[in-house]
């Protein structure tokens, strides 16, 4: 009864067992998953840009006599250590992806696990800093913008940790493989994690150093 069989878009019914509509029209230059994270990150950049605009407006346009205001001392050394911790986590997530590209599952699990631990350490240190920094978001414009910028970034680290949690669980359950389509679950959180790190470098330099 060959005449009763329904042809499918790619003509490989027996091999692919394809059901449903054909693939959507898409760009040949970018995968849809990557396009999704790209659009998401662009929207995030705009969100951070709004907060940075507020910060630089206060800093450059309003231009107060002293910045930070008298009596406020930021823990620069602790923030620097935190920066080292977070930047290290970018290296470990990169290592994890390179490992799975070479079919090194042990390296993948090690890299993802270390990344998660470093991210959690960063968040722990930042919460500890909030508890001991000695001023609140109510203490003037500096307090407001300090907690807004660092808090916004901390929220992104938290979301990144959630993504990494899923990636870790999947890695331990045997997911992912060397081919690009088989490790998008590591690559996409990796891009997001690098974005979070880059934003922290800018926040750190703008708020703590300059």
């Amino acid at each position: 009864m060959e005449s009763a069989s329904i042809p499918v878009p790619h003509g490989h019914a027996e091999e692919d067992h394809h059901h449903g509509p054909p693939e959507a029209h898409q760009s040949a230059r970018i995968d849809r998953s990557i396009l999704g994270i790209l659009l998401f990150i662009l929207s995030e950049v705009m969100l951070f840009a709004a907060f940075f605009a507020a910060y630089f407006f206060l800093r450059v346009v309003v231009n107060p006599d002293t910045w930070p205001p008298e009596g406020i001392h930021l823990p620069v050394l602790i923030a620097f250590i935190n920066t080292v911790v977070l930047v290290s986590s970018s290296f470990t997530v990169h290592y994890a992806l390179e490992a799975i590209k070479h079919d090194n599952r042990r390296g993948l699990k090690l890299g993802l696990g270390l990344t998660w631990l470093l991210g959690a350490t960063f968040l722990f240190i930042q919460i500890n800093e909030y508890l001991h920094v000695g001023f609140s978001a109510r203490d003037g414009a500096f307090g407001s913008i300090f907690y807004s910028l660092t808090g916004l970034h901390g929220a992104h680290v938290f979301v990144g940790l959630l993504l990494l949690t899923f990636a870790n669980i999947r890695a331990w359950r045997g997911h992912f493989g060397p081919e690009q389509k088989n490790h998008l679950g590591v690559e996409v959180p990796g891009i997001y994690w690098h974005f979070v790190d880059i934003m922290w470098i800018i926040v750190f330099v703008a708020v703590y150093v300059v």
């Binding site: 005449s3 029209h25 760009s27 040949a28 990169h94 990796g190 891009i191 880059i198 330099v205």
Partner: protein
């Protein structure tokens, strides 16, 4: 170095570049003062935006370069044509 938003490897390379840029901002703030370093840092950020915008224009491509998979209408027409050749299903 590639568009930092299209692959993890490109994003990682940009992270290293931004790390070096941030170190230069910190150094210049010590030498020339905070306000100069802020303007320098903003200039670096705008250069970064320029590179990303350029990469995105390339990435969006042109209609000719897109992969054109069969659309629903074409598939439906083909199904109907093949059904006509084979004749109606038994029992009709």
């Amino acid at each position: 170095m590639g568009n930092p938003l299209t692959s993890e490897v490109a994003a990682f390379r940009w992270l290293v570049v931004i790390l070096i840029g941030a170190a230069s901002v910190a150094l210049l703030s010590r030498i020339f003062g905070s306000i100069f370093a802020i303007w320098y840092g903003l200039a670096l950020i705008f250069i970064l935006i320029g590179f990303i915008a350029k990469g995105m224009v390339y990435m969006l491509g042109s209609p000719e370069s897109d992969s054109t998979s069969e659309n629903v209408d074409e598939v439906s027409e083909r199904v109907e044509a093949e059904s006509d050749v084979d004749g109606p299903p038994p029992g009709r």
